[in-house]
Amino acid sequence: MAQAPELKLVPTPGQTIGPFYGYALPFAKDNELVNQAHPNSVRLHGVVYDGKGEAIPDALLEIWQADEAGNIVSEQGSLVRDGYTFTGWGRTAVDNVGHYTFTTVNPGATEEGKAPFIMLTVFARGLLNRLFTRIYLPEDTAALANDPLLASLTDAERKTLIATREADGSLRLDIHLQGKEETVFLSYPRES
């Protein structure tokens, strides 16, 4: 890929979400990208851990993904869900034991042969700036093997980005902000 052009303006710094977002950012059905009654609804869940392996009770996560066919949608209505419109975006505060749940669908490949993934953003008290990562679906092993990001990681690192499919069809991925199983967090071009 060619060199990204220089920025003209310097980006504003981020700051921690702090402890008191709970009455401000969550909203009704924030974590329901589709209704649980949707025939292909999938539970995406896991636990957010700190560097001591303790669950973090005050993190907020957001996901952004393509629909089942791999289309990137541009639909309003995420904040006032009608139960029918797929907007591709969801938000959830973890519960008191650090557990998060989204109800969504498996994203399709956005291009033929590409490994489908869900984009995840992590905010937390104690975390001074947001973190980005990807949640890959585990099934298409050929596509996973060809994925440029995954190919640039060690086996242990790769594991932190690929969800596990549970017996009931749920996707499971734990997030480790620090420690032996530390999640691989991403930076992108043109951040500064």
Partner: protein
């Protein structure tokens, strides 16, 4: 039930402000030396910043891994009038009476790193009231809750990236990072760009706050120019006669990757 922040913060100590300030100074001094030796200026907070005790176990220890953005990462969710009512940008009219405190208007523009306005995107804010108290069950600060002030607002940016909130100036509030720790007055801001990689949450501060030097969250940004970017400017042109004082604050997101990558693809 009261929440003991010491159990939430295993790393919290009974450090004094002097201890915390000394730690901040020594980190900043190392940074100044690095700047003098030609290192590029930092523009974002350090995620590993020990004076903010809660960061100790909550920051990645490995460098962020570079990713070339793909498909979904080059787009952002769409928000609009369906999501947000126009009145949600006025935090002073959400109840039956007028909230107590100094009525202010905070307005500015959301731009991307190329200086392009971010139009039609969601901006969310939340804040403490004029006594420094949040309407949040975990806020145990013994300052009054204002029945006429919740402290939550939303808006959708205009065609030039502009936003405007009418609110009450928040007060500083104490927290448990160290003994006698107080946060400078601030408004929390949540922002989206045209690419989801531009997503950010930050805090806007008020000019001249005497608590700036003492605050490990603000000082986690080691560079003075970068810290200044979080401070609004008093603006007489936003101030309105016998109604509210005005502040201006523009927000710059990171650069979009969609435009230049598409252009490059077009050249192939």
């Amino acid at each position: 039930m009261s929440t003991n922040n010491k159990t939430l913060d295993p790393a919290a100590t009974t450090a004094s402000q002097e201890d915390i300030s000394a730690e901040i100074s020594s980190i900043h001094e190392v940074y100044r030396q690095q700047l003098l030796s030609g290192m590029k200026a930092e523009t974002q907070p350090r995620v590993d910043f020990a004076p903010y005790r809660s960061s100790l176990l909550r920051h990645p220890t490995k460098n962020l891994h570079h990713a070339d953005p793909e498909t979904i990462e080059l787009y952002s969710p769409a928000f609009g009038q369906r999501d947000v009512h126009a009145l949600e940008s006025d935090l002073t009219i959400q109840h039956n009476g007028e909230p107590i405190g100094e009525r202010i208007v905070v307005s500015g523009r959301v731009l991307d790193g190329d200086g392009r306005p971010v139009a039609g995107q969601l901006v969310e804010v939340w804040q403490a009231n004029a006594a420094g108290r949040y309407v949040h069950k975990r806020d145990q600060h013994p300052a009054p809750i204002d029945p006429n002030f919740t402290g939550v607002g939303r808006t959708i940016t205009g065609a030039n990236g502009e936003y405007s909130f009418t609110t009450i100036k928040p007060a500083p509030y104490p927290w448990k990072n160290h003994h006698n720790a107080w946060r400078p007055a601030h408004i929390h801001f949540s922002l989206f760009g045209t690419d989801f990689t531009q997503r950010m949450i930050t805090q806007m501060y008020f000019p001249g706050d005497p608590l700036f030097a003492l605050d490990p969250i603000y000082q986690s940004i080691t560079d003075q120019d970068a810290r200044d970017r979080l401070v609004a400017t008093y603006d007489q042109s936003i101030t309105s006669h016998e109604w509210a004082t005005g502040y201006n604050w523009d927000i710059v997101l990171t650069g979009s990757n969609r435009t230049w990558m598409e252009e490059e693809e077009g050249e192939h």
